[in-house]
Symmetry: C3
Subunit: 184 residues, 3 copies
């Protein structure tokens, strides 16, 4: 295992889980898709802040995705990618890893961080540090269902196994331990 893609909806706790798992796993580092995209978007004059990116027109987002994928294709060593399974835009759910992007990443495994709908909704309300989507319960369930379908496609295309990591409130240690099982 050298390249692990960690996916999850905003509020599932993906970043918390993978940050803790990386801290406890020497030799592994985290690359955040959003940070990389922001660096590139700033350099190209496409956006100034992170939350602006997903408001970009579809074609611009696709172009930016390809540039991020190209930059990731050159990464060495052991790394986890912190990214979204899909991005909620005004045009619908945009796949986070369309095959043209995924094929460049040479993923060894996909880890999907999930949490009960109640927990995700509460976390989103509490986290005021970022502009989170104001999704209602029905829309969130829809988003999670789209994610699951995409996940199957990502796995069948790449051949990478899918690990589902449940990160309900109070179960963070189990979630971190499960992800750490991949970091060998």
């Amino acid at each position: 295992m050298a390249v692990i893609i960690v996916l999850g909806a905003p509020g599932a706790g993906k970043t918390t889980v993978l940050t803790k798992a990386a801290e406890q796993s020497p030799g592994w580092r985290v690359i955040t898709w959003g940070d990389r995209a922001l660096e590139i978007a700033k350099a190209k004059g496409l956006a100034k802040e992170r939350d602006e990116i997903r408001k970009l027109p579809v074609a611009k987002q696709a172009e930016l995705q390809r540039m991020v994928a190209d930059s990731l294709a050159n990464e060495k060593g052991k790394w986890m990618l912190d990214t979204h399974c899909s991005i909620n835009t005004p045009e619908g759910y945009y796949p986070g890893l369309p095959f043209k992007v995924l094929e460049k990443l040479k993923a060894d495994a996909l880890a999907y961080v999930n949490a009960p709908v109640e927990d995700v909704m509460r976390r989103r309300k509490t986290d005021t540090s970022r502009a989170r989507d104001a999704q209602g319960r029905k829309e969130l369930e829809e988003h999670l269902a789209v994610n699951r379908a995409l996940l199957g496609a990502y796995s069948a295309f790449s051949g990478a196994p899918v690990m589902i990591i449940e990160n309900a409130d109070g179960k963070l240690d189990e979630a971190v331990a499960k992800l750490k099982g991949l970091l060998r």
Copy 2:
């Protein structure tokens, strides 16, 4: 946005939603997959009526699909495609947009029209203008679940975003408004 593929199971209200959205959106027109397939099938002597097409052997359906896709690949301007996510045949659920077809369409977005199982069943009973499948509740739920999985694959392959449009009874105006949001 120039090419939008609108999908949905029979009875979800796909055709109603996209016809109304197109009427209110100057510059946009609707192409119905089934009509185009019927024209081509008639010309090739494969079928005489629409409902005959999905009774054709799998190989013939695949051939017809490719011919329709080739004819669509040459369409200009802004258009929505009215088609099925999957087709219920004696051999199982046949994908409406296998990758070999989808790659020719250059879709900018996928819109999936959905409705509660109850509503779909009642609409199918009422609509006697066409020979609809007599699917029971369990089979319909199965069909909708297959559609969702296919939808994820279509999106991951094409890179096009997926918009889910809920078209429950009494919510037609909201459904039309949501689709119109794509028609820019």
Copy 3:
């Protein structure tokens, strides 16, 4: 129809259903992925018993999958493949038919044997003839959900229709009859 891939989770009754369907369908034979993989794995010194195979490292499993696919690409006549939709490994659910494998098989149809979670769990407890996964209910539901998503991707990629065969306790004859409908 010449090549039919029959999929299902351990305990869904896939092998029982397809064995009975093949017995009643002259000209059709069954190839078991696991048997073919074991023959090849033994010859290559990768494993000695069937249940060892899914404990192999991911890279070895992928290599073995490709060798099995290459051997199946040369099969003549009418045959059903008995295989898994996904394999539950320590790294997660490994796709049974990643696109690189699936493209070699030239499947005419996919048949997915399914059963209620209760029935699958009871069958797994009862069947002591093989080392079955000790999955809890939640993990089994997760496994079945991953299978459904993969199934959509397999169908969209291959263009093959998906038949869902429900094999609840006491419904074996109906399940066999449904599969036999494909064996023409």
